[in-house]
């Protein structure tokens, strides 16, 4: 599967990255190379193989439904680029 500039542009929106024309060009080439290299995995027949998403196979890890102290609001908002003391602020989301 070869990667086109249009693919890369579409992906950059999905990834919420703004790429300059130059970056788009370079990215298209470099991703192409990497994807090309990755294609070697197709040499392997993995039909019968179970995927391995975790490095340790633990199951049923739960915590009790017990209250823990929340952060003071000041602490929660302390790192916010923009806040009004009560809420995080973002450029208005239109519609919805």
């Amino acid at each position: 599967m070869s990667l086109t500039r249009e693919d890369v542009e579409k992906v950059s929106l999905l990834a919420r990255l703004k790429l300059t024309d130059d970056e788009l060009g370079l990215m298209t080439i470099q991703l192409g190379q990497i994807v090309g290299y990755v294609a070697q995995l197709n040499e392997l027949d993995t039909e019968e193989i179970e995927p391995m998403a975790h490095a340790v196979e633990v199951t049923n890890v739960f915590r009790p439904d017990e209250l823990r102290e929340s952060l003071p609001r000041e602490a929660a908002l302390a790192n916010a680029p923009k806040a009004d003391g009560e809420c995080y602020l973002v450029p208005a989301v239109l519609g919805e």
């Binding site: 579409k10 929106l13 999905l14 919420r16 998403a53 975790h54 633990v58 199951t59 049923n60 890890v61 739960f62 915590r63 009790p64 439904d65 017990e66 209250l67 823990r68 102290e69 929340s70 952060l71 609001r73 929660a76 908002l77 790192n79 923009k82 009004d84 009560e86 809420c87 995080y88 602020l89 973002v90 450029p91 208005a92 989301v93 239109l94 519609g95 919805e96």
Partner: protein, 490 residues
């Protein structure tokens, strides 16, 4: 609704589970606290923070799934649903994609008024996921900033997706009411619509039979922003009509246009199209590496099934069988919730008359509860007292209208039935006394007798009035009978 098409409806219901803390952290799920006072590194999605599953949330979800007859997956995992929105701090929602913990269930619905056939509504799947926060948008959208409150972020939600088995807005509303009732009986959710603990999205389209035998299928539309069950019913009714109009104009069928999302405007009573960038639908699901999968054994499922509370449908059936009451009454009682049912059952047992007990509860008790908006627990007249009234009426001490009078007095005063009966001098009038009274009246009122004989039976009413003046305890119906018999014989 026009009959020349069939409405096809499927519902997606999001239910907030009644846990103390959030799905993946120990922050409180309490509603209505000041913004951003119930957050921590985990639910803010701070770098480095990790989720750990709330056991209670999974238990409640499991109970519900079993109650709606779902199969339970022996192995289930958690996936990341990825999209960007300011109230979704991690940039993904932890949900379930290809291996939901439960699937293939159903919920039975019926209508006591028989407006539709009783049916089993299929449930495709029920899965557990985390809620997002709240974005508060400025009215002058685009002008000011939107404000983000993350208190709700991470609250456990159960998403229940029905098959497109619903055939009318009324069926849809009934399904929702029955589902809500079930959840409340299970105690897994308070289903408070105002606080958003139940949220509904609907998918709807029409099947329109054509003269040539082909059935036209209109494009499926998803409706959002419906904030009450009534709104769902109204939105669906509107949307069905709208789709029919559009179809007549465009003849567009499913597949001709991309699936559309429309928002319900509760004020204008219309649905409005919502613009969505096509890319936003590429959620890039993949298994969350931070969470361990969950396994459930058949033994576990069995023990859940055995520990379930009695479900509404079973309860209705039990009341009908045990107390011989009408389906309509059992429906009214059960829909009021477990406490009212318990009140009824106590009353029925004490009075030894299920139907009379049902009449008293559904007519008198519920009416007063609504008028004074009391809960059954707050209701001042307890079952033994009402049972006493029922027994006395059956014993002929006084008639139902008198009993109602006493009932009303009991609401106002601390008095007992006996006291009120004594004060009002209410006592049983025996038959002989009644007959002699009637004789006197008949002989004293030749005019009326004549009228009655000439066919104006209504004239007998004044005899009854006079009888009541002489003795307030007489049973008017009986007085009427006796008088008419006497006149007959004259």
């Amino acid at each position: 609704m026009a009959n020349d098409y069939t409405v096809i409806i499927g519902l997606e219901v999001h239910v907030q589970l009644l846990t103390r803390t959030k799905l993946f952290c120990g922050c409180s799920t309490k509603f209505g606290e000041p913004p951003n006072t119930q957050t921590c590194p985990v639910c803010i999605g701070l770098p480095g923070a990790l989720p750990v599953m709330n056991r209670e949330a999974f238990e409640l979800a499991l109970e519900t799934a079993v109650a709606i007859n779902c199969e339970i997956a022996p192995f289930t995992k958690w996936d990341r649903k990825q999209y960007y929105y300011p109230d979704l701090p991690k940039g993904y929602q932890i949900s379930q994609y290809d291996l939901p913990f439960s699937f293939n269930g159903y919920l039975a619905i019926s209508d006591p008024k028989d407006r539709f056939e009783a049916k089993k509504v299929g449930i495709i799947r029920a899965h557990l996921e985390e809620d997002a926060g709240k974005s508060m948008h400025d009215e002058r959208a685009g002008k000011a900033d939107s404000r983000i409150d993350l208190n709700r972020t991470g609250t456990p939600l159960l998403e229940i997706v029905s098959q497109p088995d619903l055939r009318s807005p009324l069926e849809a509303k009934t399904y929702l009411q029955e589902l809500k009732l079930l959840l409340v009986y299970l105690g897994v959710s308070d289903c408070n619509m105002q606080e958003g603990s139940v949220r509904v999205d609907a998918n709807i389209n029409l099947h329109i039979p054509q003269s040539n035998g082909h059935t036209a299928k209109t494009p499926i539309v998803e409706i959002k922003n419906m904030n009450s069950f009534r709104a769902v019913e109204r939105a669906l009714t509107y949307e069905a009509e709208r789709q029919y109009q559009v179809w007549q104009e465009t003849k567009q069928e499913i597949g001709d246009v991309p699936k559309q999302t429309r928002g319900w405007d509760d004020v204008a009573n219309v649905t409005r199209g919502q613009r969505h960038k096509e890319e936003s639908s590429d959620y890039r699901y993949f298994p969350d590496p931070d969470l361990a999968p969950v396994t459930v054994t058949p033994e576990r499922i069995q023990s859940v099934r055995e520990s379930l509370a009695e479900l509404p449908a079973d309860l209705r059936h039990r009341l009908e069988v045990t107390y011989g009451i009408k389906m309509y009454d059992s429906d009214v009682l059960v829909n009021q919730g477990r406490p009212v049912v318990d009140y009824y059952v106590e009353l029925a047992e004490l009075a030894g008359d299920g139907q009379a007990a049902a009449n008293w509860v559904t007519q008198d008790v519920l009416r007063v509860m609504n008028e004074r908006n009391l809960t059954i627990e707050q209701f001042p007249i307890r079952p033994p007292v009402v049972a006493d009234l029922i027994t006395r009426v059956k014993g002929g001490d006084f008639d139902t209208s008198k009993a109602r009078g006493i009932f009303t007095e009991l609401l106002e005063s601390e008095k007992t039935v006996a006291q009120i009966v004594a004060e009002k001098g209410i006592r049983k009038v025996d038959e002989s006394e009644l007959i002699s009274l009637c004789r006197e009246l008949v002989t004293a009122n030749p005019k009326i007798v004549a009228d009655v004989k000439s066919g104006k039976v209504a004239a007998a009413a004044s005899l009854i009035g006079q009888a009541k003046k002489r003795n307030p305890n007489v049973n008017p119906a009986r007085v009427r009978e006796i008088c008419l018999e006497l006149i007959e014989g004259m």
